[in-house]
Amino acid sequence: MKRYIAYSAILALVWCFVHGTISVNNFILGLIIAPFIIRPFKFLFPFDLEFSFGNAIKKIPAQIKFLYVLIVEIIKANIMVAKIVLQPKIDIKPGIIAVPIDSKTDIGITAIANTITLTPGTLTIDVSDDKSILYVHAIDATDPEGVAQSIREDLEKYTMEAFE
C-alpha cells in the first residue's frame, strides 16, 4: 500500500508536467488516476525492493556528475557523426563487439546500455542471457579491445557510482 502511494505520487508529478500546469488540482487528479495505471503493469514496478531515502540522497552528487559526463559525451558524439556524414566519401569500418560489464542490477545495466547508445560511435544491440556481456555496434571497430576498455573505464565507472 505504501508502495502504491509512493509510485502514484511520482506518476502524478509526471502527469503535472505533461499537462503543463503544475497545481494542486492537477496533482490530485494524477494521484487518483495513477493506481489504475500501476495495477496492470505491476510487474514493471519493483515492489519487493528495499528502498531508503538516505541512500537515494547520498547518490545525488554522483548522478549530477554522471549527467555532466553524459551531456559532454552527447555533444562529442554529434560532432563525430556529423563529420562522418559530411565526408565526401564515406570511409568506415563498422562491426559488432562483445563488451564484458560489471553492473549487476537491472537499472545499472539499463543505464550503461542507454549511455553507450548516446555516446560517440557505439550502439548497444543486445545483452547476453547471463547479463554479463553487452553486444555493441561500433562505427569504427578496427580496435575492439580499445573500444571495450574505453567503455569500461570512461562510462561504467560513473553509472555504477550513480545507480548501484
Binding site: G20, K93, I96, I133
Partner: protein, 118 residues
C-alpha cells in the same frame, strides 16, 4: 529580445542537426550505421527544437510540455534503437561489406546453430 535571438539560434542549430540525421540516413550503408545517425543526431536535434520553444514562451504550459517531451525523447530514443537493431539482427539482416567483426553473430550461432539446408 536577447532571449528571442537565442531561441532562433538554437532552433536553427536543431534543424541543422535534424537535416544531418536525414542525410546520414540516406548516405550510410546498412541499418546499424543508419541507426547511429538517427538516434544520436536526432536526439540532439529534437532536444534543441524543444529547447527553443521553451526559450520563446518561457515556463508557460506550452514550454513545460515541450521540455517534458524533450526529456522523454532523450530516454526512449536509445531503447527504440536497441529494439530495432536487435530485431533486425534476429531476422538475419546482415552487416554491410565494410564490416570487420561480428561477435554477436558468432554468439548467436553458438547458442542455436542455424538449421542445415538440404
Amino acid at each position: 529580445m536577447a532571449l528571442e535571438i537565442l531561441s532562433n539560434a538554437v532552433l536553427i542549430l536543431g534543424l541543422f542537426f535534424v537535416f544531418l540525421a536525414m542525410l546520414g540516413l540516406a548516405r550510410l550503408p546498412d541499418v546499424y550505421n543508419r541507426l547511429h545517425t538517427t538516434t544520436k543526431i536526432g536526439t540532439l536535434g529534437a532536444f534543441s527544437v524543444m529547447l527553443s520553444i521553451l526559450l520563446k514562451v518561457g515556463f508557460s504550459p506550452m514550454g513545460v510540455k515541450a521540455i517534458t517531451v524533450a526529456l522523454f525523447i532523450l530516454i526512449t530514443s536509445p531503447v527504440a534503437a536497441h529494439m530495432i537493431s536487435r530485431a533486425a539482427h534476429r531476422h538475419g539482416v546482415g552487416l554491410c561489406r565494410e564490416s570487420v567483426i561480428d561477435e554477436y553473430g558468432k554468439a548467436c550461432n553458438a547458442a542455436c546453430p542455424p538449421p542445415e539446408e538440404d
